[in-house]
């Protein structure tokens, strides 16, 4: 078993996949903690569909995929966060509107070109082995930024996540922190979609945070635990895909589901005890 994996790891495209995947797993888990606690759980889903639409349109028009999808997703992330702050439209409805709207545009754009092909399948469900050097570079830079932001601003991130009104009232620039989270989330989704696909990326954001919240009692341990769970699940999902040729994205999400189930049970029995 280990031999097979060791052999696989000699291929450069596998190495790229593993490096980029680990990075994205850490990013998604850390940002996921903020998003889940701020009740933006579905934002990942909405943005990934927007990214899907942007990619199909880029393909249809023969433009560079990243150059189209990064700015589009960034803009949508800002709009969604703004909407949920204003409170005129309910945040969950706004995300649902973006999500289905973008999916419809994406499917429409597809039919105009040449129907379903491999590219589309990759956009929907990810293909980790097709990650390029630039994807890897982007994911490494992104992770470095996310880690630095979390280390430097850890306490402020906590304060803004826990109680935005209080933080703002006592003079913390909450707008800047929300924008920062929006930008990082948008970038993470664009990069993560290559691996997980637009249908599965939100699993990578939600599950580690939810699992960690079930067993941890401190915010600091929730963040560390979420990152650790995410990395372990990535390795399991990736390993399974190398050994048994299963799809990587869904393998990772299933591994996460098992961990989440276990953590929920632990949490349930602890609360009852």
């Amino acid at each position: 078993m280990l031999e097979t994996i060791a052999k696989m790891l000699q291929y450069s495209f596998v190495q790229r996949a593993v490096i980029a995947g680990l990075m994205i797993a850490v990013c998604a888990a850390l940002l996921g903690v903020c998003l889940v606690l701020k009740r933006y759980s579905m934002i990942g889903d909405g943005l990934s569909h927007v990214s899907f639409a942007a990619l199909t349109i880029a393909t249809a028009l023969n433009w560079a995929p990243m150059a189209v999808s990064i700015p589009t997703v960034l803009v949508c992330a800002f709009i969604l966060l703004r909407i949920s702050q204003n409170g005129s439209v309910k945040a969950d409805a706004a995300v649902a509107v973006f999500s289905t709207g973008a999916l419809a545009i994406g499917v429409f754009a597809l039919s105009v070109v040449d129907g379903m092909n491999t590219d589309v399948n990759n956009y929907m469900f990810g293909s980790i082995l097709s990650m390029t050097d630039s994807d890897v570079r982007l994911s490494v830079i992104l992770t470095a930024v996310v880690l630095v932001v979390f280390l430097l601003f850890y306490h402020k991130i906590f304060a803004v996540t826990f109680d935005e009104t209080f933080a703002k009232a006592t003079g913390v620039n909450t707008g800047a922190y929300n924008s920062l989270v929006a930008v990082l989330t948008a970038l993470m989704i664009v990069v993560g979609m290559r691996m997980m696909g637009s249908m599965l990326i939100s699993g990578l954001i939600l599950f580690p945070a939810l699992s960690a919240m079930n067993v941890c009692k401190k915010f600091s341990s929730v963040t560390v635990c979420a990152a650790a769970i995410s990395v372990v699940c990535f390795i399991v999902g990736m390993g399974a895909s190398m050994l048994y040729d299963t799809p990587t994205g869904s393998g990772i999400v299933i591994a996460n589901m098992i961990v989440f189930g276990t953590c929920s049970l632990i949490g349930y029995f602890r609360r009852r005890a």
């Binding site: 701020k38 280390l151 430097l152 826990f162 209080f166 009232a169 006592t170 003079g171 401190k218």
Partner: protein, 273 residues
Amino acid sequence: MTDKTLLKCDKLSLSYEGKIVLENLSFELNEGDYLCIVGENGSGKSSLIKALLGLKRTASGKIITGRKLRHNEIGYLPQQTSMQRDFPASVKEVVMSGFLNRKKFFMNYTSAEKRRAQEILEILSITDLADRCYRDLSGGQQQRVLLARALCATSKMLLLDEPVAGLDPMASEEMYRLIRKVNREEGITIVMVTHDIHCAIDHASHIMHLNAGQLIFYGTAEDYRNSDIGRAFLEEGTDEECMDCRLGRECTKGCSAHKKGTCHHALKGEPHA
């Protein structure tokens, strides 16, 4: 404005979604005061608090802070959101986040801050909760933890928005006792919004009464007790009775007490509209 003046409002007007909710309010707050703001829902109480905290722009008029008070020296106890109730964080993490307004972006709290947090926990007698998880606490305990956080943010002035909302009578009484203790022993100026006029008048030094965006009383608790407005409001009126009826003015809302003939108009034998 004297040396003891902490805060002064000059002809302050506030609007909410284009409608004026508070008009032409002028008052001065001195160091060590304990001010209770009372009034019905929609009287502009919460808007006033938000404006004092700088969370809301003023429509006209000015809020002037005295020589001794800088903006980031105001502590705030907001109304709790449902999101916070099940937040995975330790009490220590929550309390310490009150210090953030004075930090630029650094990772750790100083030992002086840690000592101060310890003192505050002792004042509020919640030292035993320090390592507990915030979501496992009772409503009253959570509220005391948030009070501790607000005290970390200030040594001068504290704004409290309905601090006993949703607490049982025992926990409410304890909360009021602690707020008074903070006011008397720590010399912290208190501004509190509350529905509970009877408790307010027992504890506060000053009362501000707002009705439909107008200031109808501002003065000491003693004067309020002896004023017509105060008497009308403190008397056991029926719950459905509107403020106009209580004050013996023309009943513009046609409140249910007025229709049933159980309002002050009826009791005084005045004709019904």
